[in-house]
């Protein structure tokens, strides 16, 4: 089947026409007059000419731009999951705008554009630096994008939480808003979209050659690297301009190319152009949906929210066909010790105990910190926090170790893959939609959310022979949905949002003694189970066929271990909120220390994870005393930085 422009171009025009006709209260005749240049007279005329039309024009241009760039990125890297959104661009812009609004609010009106472009540039450079030019085709770039997303997002959330009121004005940008009040933005954006012409002119040839493989292309006397760089820069420039103008609108660039391919776009040029058309169409439709939804709710629903609502399920539907079951990563962990030394074995418990003593015994007295036995009241406040941090750290580290071995991916982390996202989505959703306080039924709702995601993963996984990339897809879709919901809640501008943000930061502040004990016992049980499963984990991580040949029923074991991971994440998220990166970091630390066998790695990772979270909790407590920073935030920052240096170092050594 070959896709024809004669089919979708008229369709796009028809939808655009409908959107104009029904978007305005004016008669079609009057609209036609205004289009031909009649002078606007009543306000409805002005609204049509200076709000509806520019909004339509923006939707078309932005949608087409995002679709085109999405297709370009996906073809350049031969990676159907790549898009501006998965590259972490919008979180870079978000952080830049938060910084500007909090520290220089007076400049936010005039310099927002500069800051946004800067943020986009830096975050994209970061992602590209992490993965490097050679690794663009696989999952690493998606994971790196997610990691940069989490890192920058965590920093932005921390800033917002410490300066609650300041960022209020930003929240509409975060929700992605196509509303226009003149042609200004369109006029600003249009010339910045010109690199699209370069893409359309140059890319098809380069892409066609790329399909032959890099060596084949070089054989024809074409050095692809400069072309590649040029196209990439053009694409990123377009994306940065678009999101600066309309805010965070995800998914378009991810989905449009997939639709185009599904409907039969084959040649590079046809895929590029059809993706642009579908991008415009998709944004137009979701924008209409957003406007429709706004009529139903008390608050405005922004385009970005609607895009995520449509985009997340579409993403799962469209891309799951292209999944391969063992998508290996080319990134290697840094070489660590060959085995656990006796020194490590003795030092680790000592460090653990030292940290416990430090966080239990530090006291702030007359302007300085001292080590002392805590008062009875301090002790009653501190032990639940410390015990919870300890258990959660160990639980997440175990979950991470199991997951990384399970899906053959040293970059996998339960939080990146959406296992804790289910809990978050459930809590934020119930708070936003039904006004339930996030602390009221927190643990129960979080648990239900995690289990729902688990069921989804198992159902989808069965159809696809438990392909690892399924998990990653779910993670992307759920994370984007959560972001959209959070941004919707933020844009409402009420004071309750800080409760949600506070919970999202992942804090031990509200853990009750009974919660801490419960968490401790559950973690202990689940970690023990994980240790008992370590033999099958070793077999599995040697390869599925190998494990099968050794008589292991691979799929059954996969399900058991996945359930274990989900349970671990669920209990932690239920009590502490989403905590990122521990599941990624701790297993790596274990390998670095020389724990190479599955069982050893779990044990060492669990201790490292526990130490890390206790340390983060302690730092969050003392760093800005009396203001407390959530342990989850600090872990995200520490973990994110480690992750990025790790990846960049791996990149260098290649």
């Amino acid at each position: 089947m070959n896709l024809r422009y004669s089919f979708n171009l008229p369709f796009l025009l028809l939808i655009a026409l409908l959107s104009v006709l029904f978007g305005s209260e004016l008669s079609p005749a009057r609209q036609w007059q205004l289009l031909q240049g009649a002078e606007p007279q009543v306000f409805a005329d002005f609204a049509f000419y200076y709000a509806n039309l520019p909004r339509l024009a923006m939707a078309l241009v932005v949608g087409a731009g995002l679709g085109l760039v999405g297709s370009l990125l996906q073809q350049l890297t031969q990676n159907p999951l790549l898009s501006p959104m998965t590259l972490g661009t919008s979180s870079g812009v978000w952080l830049a705008l938060v910084v500007l609004n909090v520290w220089l609010p007076g400049l936010s009106g005039s310099y927002a554009v500069v800051a946004a472009m800067l943020g986009a540039g830096v975050s994209m450079a970061l992602v590209l630096l992490i993965v490097g030019w050679r690794n663009l085709s696989g999952l690493p770039i998606v994971l790196a994008g997610m990691a940069v997303n989490i890192l920058l997002g965590a920093i932005a959330t921390a800033i917002i939480l410490l300066h609650e009121q300041y960022a209020n004005n930003l929240f509409i940008w975060g929700a992605g808003d196509l509303s226009q009040h003149d042609w200004d933005w369109f006029i600003w954006l249009l010339p910045r979209m010109l690199p699209a012409l370069v893409i359309v002119a140059v890319a098809p040839r380069v892409l066609a050659l790329l399909r032959l493989g890099q060596q084949g292309a070089q054989g024809r006397g074409l050095n692809l690297a400069p072309m590649f760089l040029l196209l990439m820069l053009c694409g990123l420039w377009i994306v940065a301009s678009a999101i600066t103008a309309v805010g965070a609108i995800g998914f378009i660039g991810l989905i449009a190319p997939n639709i185009a391919r599904l409907l039969g776009a084959r040649s590079p040029r046809s895929e590029l152009l059809h993706s642009a058309i579908f991008g415009a169409l998709l944004l137009l439709v979701t924008d209409m949906l957003a406007r429709g939804l706004s009529l139903l709710t008390i608050d405005t629903v922004h385009t970005g929210t609607a895009t995520a609502l449509i985009g997340a399920p579409l993403l799962l539907l469209l891309t799951r066909r292209n999944l391969r079951s063992e998508d290996r990563l080319s990134i290697e962990l840094p070489q660590g010790a060959a085995r656990l030394t006796r020194l490590t074995k003795t030092l680790l418990p000592i460090i653990c105990l030292g940290l416990l003593a430090l966080s239990l015994g530090s006291g702030f007295n007359a302007g300085s910190w001292q080590l002392q036995w805590p008062s009875e009241f301090s002790f009653s406040l501190r032990w639940p926090r410390i015990l919870a941090a300890l258990s959660a750290g160990a639980a997440l580290a175990t979950a991470g170790t199991v997951l990384q071995r399970l899906i053959y991916n040293p970059l996998a982390s339960p939080d990146i893959l959406g296992l804790s996202a289910g809990a978050t989505l459930m809590l934020v959703g119930s708070s936003v939609l039904f006004g339930v306080s996030i602390y009221e039924h927190g643990p129960l709702l979080a648990f239900v959310g995690s289990m729902l995601v688990l069921v989804l993963l198992l159902v989808l996984g069965r159809r696809h022979n438990y392909a690892p990339s399924m998990l990653i897809l779910c993670g992307i879709a759920l994370t984007a949905l959560i972001e959209a919901l959070v941004q919707f809640a933020l844009a409402r501008g009420t004071q309750s949002i800080y409760e949600i943000l506070g919970w999202l930061a992942g804090s031990t502040y509200r853990v009750q003694p009974s919660d801490a004990l419960f968490l401790f016992v559950l973690s202990l049980v689940l970690v023990t189970v994980a240790l008992l499963c370590s033999k099958s984990l070793t077999l599995l991580s040697a390869g599925r066929q190998f494990a099968q040949a050794r008589g292991l029923s691979v799929n059954a074991r996969f399900v058991v271990l996945l359930v274990l991971v989900a349970l671990l994440c669920a209990i932690v998220t239920a009590y502490l909120g989403p905590i990122a990166f521990i599941g990624l970091l701790a297993p790596h630390m274990a390998v670095l220390l020389g724990a190479r066998q599955a069982g050893q790695q779990i044990a060492v990772a669990a201790s490292c994870g526990a130490c890390l979270l206790v340390l983060a909790d302690y730092l969050g407590w003392v760093l800005f005393y009396p203001t407390q920073v959530a342990a989850g935030t600090l872990v995200s920052v520490i973990g994110g930085l480690y992750f990025i240096t790790l990846l960049i170092r791996g990149q260098r050594s290649n």
């Binding site: 606007p40 306000f43 002005f46 609204a47 200076y50 709000a51 609010p105 007076g106 936010s108 009106g109 005039s110 939480l161 410490l162 300066h163 609650e164 009121q165 300041y166 209020n168 004005n169 929240f171 509409i172 940008w173 808003d177 509303s179 226009q180 009040h181 003149d182 200004d184 706004s294 008390i298 608050d299 405005t300 702030f364 008062s375 009241f377 301090s378 009653s380 406040l381 006004g435 306080s437 602390y439 009221e440 844009a491 409402r492 501008g493 009420t494 004071q495 309750s496 800080y498 409760e499 506070g502 804090s507 502040y509 509200r510 009750q512 800005f624 005393y625 009396p626 203001t627 407390q628």
Partner: protein, 310 residues
């Protein structure tokens, strides 16, 4: 001997009863051992209520934020900072040995922990399904009773009533042809705004000043809803009052859609000095003063030209 013991016990009991007194908070009747002197307020509106009773709180949450956003009344320098409103530092609270802790909706879930430090009184001001303005005033009276400042509270409340009535009367003179409708809001950016509706202090104040709402609204917890600026065109006859700060003024002024808004064309729009919208009882007065100042400034612009006698 037994008799003496009974006597002592009775005396002790009666003294306890003498020192104890009953107070009201949003959860019902509470008992305090003595009149509290060392007071901690964990939310801004409660900190404001306490200050407006001429009592300086020992410590409050997020003083930099309070000074930036609430502004009135100014927080004295000796007040100690407790960290964020959502997660105040419990250990520091305990070190300060307060007599009473005032908590609000955002700290509701901390009450069990806080009660281990000192008696906690819970005052809910901004909540869906009740009257926020009435709650602000009721809570002011209840807190005044706790702090033994009831007389001052009544004096300030009636002064506020008088002042609002006086402002309303002056405004009646400033708008001889009748007071128009009005709506107040805060711009988020040139295309979106948070509009104050039912259950918000600004709308209540405008009504008290004699300006009926120019836009319909549903009551909500914070009394605001987010709207597109485009929808403000529904304000056909009324005044539009927007709270400062607004950082996109220049961009807004250039917008031709904005210039075409009926209320912009006819000059029925004006800025209001920065004022906190989620405060306690006295913030009603501050809102009234700020809104009235803007209304006085607008009055000459929006009056129909006096007809020249033939």
């Amino acid at each position: 001997m037994l008799k003496r013991c009974v006597m002592v016990a009775l005396l002790a009991l009666s003294q306890a009863a003498w020192a104890q007194f009953y107070v009201q908070d949003s959860l019902g009747r509470q008992t305090l051992d003595k009149r509290p002197e060392r007071v901690i307020a964990l939310s801004w509106e409660l900190a404001e209520q306490v200050l407006e009773l001429d009592v300086v709180p020992l410590a409050i949450s997020d003083i930099p934020g309070y000074s930036e956003w609430v502004r009135q009344p100014a927080m004295p320098e000796q007040v100690i900072d407790l960290g964020t409103r959502a997660e105040p530092n419990l250990e520091r609270i305990a070190e300060l040995k307060p007599d009473v802790i005032f908590a609000s909706l955002g700290q509701r879930h901390l009450i069990p922990a806080l009660s281990q430090i000192a008696p906690v009184l819970y005052y809910s001001t901004y909540q869906a399904g009740h009257d926020n303005v009435q709650a602000a005033i009721d809570n002011y009276r209840r807190i005044a009773h706790v702090l033994g400042q009831s007389e001052l509270a009544e004096r300030k409340l009636s002064a506020m009533e008088q002042r609002i009535a006086a402002l309303s009367a002056e405004l009646t003179r400033a708008f001889p042809a009748g007071k128009p409708l009005a709506v107040s809001l805060r711009f988020a950016n040139p295309t979106a705004a948070w509009v104050y509706g039912k259950n918000s202090i600004p709308e209540y104040v405008l009504e008290r000043l004699g300006f009926e709402p120019a836009l319909d609204s549903r009551a909500s917890q914070w009394g605001i809803s987010q709207q597109k600026v485009l929808q403000l065109a529904r304000v056909e006859q009324g005044l539009v009052l927007y709270f400062e700060p607004f950082y996109y003024q220049a961009e807004m002024d250039r917008s031709r859609l904005w210039q075409a808004m009926p209320f912009v064309k006819q000059g029925r729009i004006a800025p209001v000095a920065p004022t906190w919208s989620y405060g306690g009882a006295m913030s009603i007065l501050y809102n009234a003063e700020a809104l009235a100042a803007t209304l006085f400034a607008l009055a000459p612009q929006v009056q129909p030209e006096p007809e020249v006698a033939p």
